[in-house]
């Protein structure tokens, strides 16, 4: 580490990122509410990946989490892998991002809520089934196929 001016890039690797991003589009009725609370200057996105029966994943698009509540539709009949990325980059601090992934296995007819928070250098991502409020165990993609 040096005291002089520098450019810095830091990345925490929880899950392999995708090469490019595109807006997520799904015109089906919304079944996932994303509730976001961020510190000032922090940006967040939600990447949606469709998970196939063999646990491979297909990137479907990214939603900017720039409002407190955003409702989107995810496939109700197949698991989705949701990757929340927090970008804390700044001019002096350089590029920094941290990501957390969670596997959503929807039940037919149910809707879900995902709470996304970044406060005071700590982040949290929690998934709940709407209505019951039951928090779902956080499962990473590595648990796919383990059942």
């Amino acid at each position: 580490m040096h005291g002089r001016a520098r450019l810095a890039a830091l990345a925490v690797v929880f899950a392999a990122g995708c090469a490019g991003t595109r807006p997520y589009v799904n015109d089906a009725p919304a079944n996932l509410a994303v509730r976001t609370e961020l510190d000032r200057g922090v940006r967040a996105t939600l990447g949606i990946h469709r998970v196939a029966a063999d646990c491979s994943r297909e990137y479907r698009g990214t939603v900017k989490l720039d409002r407190p509540v955003i409702k989107i539709a995810v496939p109700p009949d197949t698991p989705s892998y949701l990757v929340v990325s927090f970008d804390t980059s700044s001019f002096f601090g350089g590029a920094r991002s941290v990501s957390a992934g969670v596997l959503l296995e929807p039940r037919p007819g149910r809707s879900y809520e995902i709470s996304v928070a970044y406060r005071d250098s700590q982040y949290d991502v929690a998934l709940r089934e709407a209505g019951s409020g039951r928090e779902l165990p956080r499962r990473d993609l590595v648990t796919c196929g383990a059942r």
């Binding site: 580490m1 450019l7 810095a8 830091l10």
Partner: protein, 168 residues
């Protein structure tokens, strides 16, 4: 970008002044007498088994990460990969969380490094009766604030968030 250099400096001092602690117990002995080490002790109103479960659930998810730091400027360039390794040990009457960090790339790590990297933090949870648990956290006194705060949140059960390890 202030905490990372401070933490690196603190860890360098911790690592450079004497032989690096080779296990959690050596780290416990070392931290209280290190210049940039601090031991924090407090009690939480939770059974130690619950604290243990939280450590077991959160540590792998939040702390099993790698952070790459790339810096350039003034004619120099560095590329360092820090790989963190959390370990949770639950015994008959104590839960322990160990965090190690291994640095690779343009970096010199003085002294003998234990397998998995130098110890960065150790937290112990021991029962003190009536559903209360004593927490002892051993960590650098500089630059590890977020990490220690996170461990405290897990111990109390009041904040289960993950620390942003790019800030360390």
């Amino acid at each position: 970008m202030k905490t990372a250099p401070i933490l690196l400096a603190a860890l360098s001092v911790l690592a450079g002044c004497a032989q690096n602690p080779q296990n959690a117990e050596e780290f416990r002995q070392y931290i209280p007498r290190a210049t940039f080490g601090a031991k924090q002790t407090y009690e939480v109103e939770r059974p130690w088994q619950e604290v243990a479960k939280t450590f077991q659930a959160r540590a792998p998810e939040c702390l099993n990460v790698s952070v790459r730091t790339v810096e350039s400027g003034g004619g120099s360039y560095s590329n360092v990969l820090a790989t963190y390794k959390p370990t949770v040990v639950v015994g008959a009457s104590r839960a322990e969380l160990h965090l190690q960090r291994k640095l690779k790339g343009n970096v010199i790590v003085p002294g003998k490094e234990p397998e998995g990297g130098n110890y960065m933090l150790v937290a112990d949870a021991t029962p003190v009766g009536r559903g209360r648990t004593r927490i002892d956290v051993y960590a650098p006194s500089l630059g590890a604030d977020t990490l220690v705060k996170t461990i405290n949140g897990w111990a109390s059960g009041k904040n289960l968030g993950c620390p942003d390890m790019t800030k360390h």
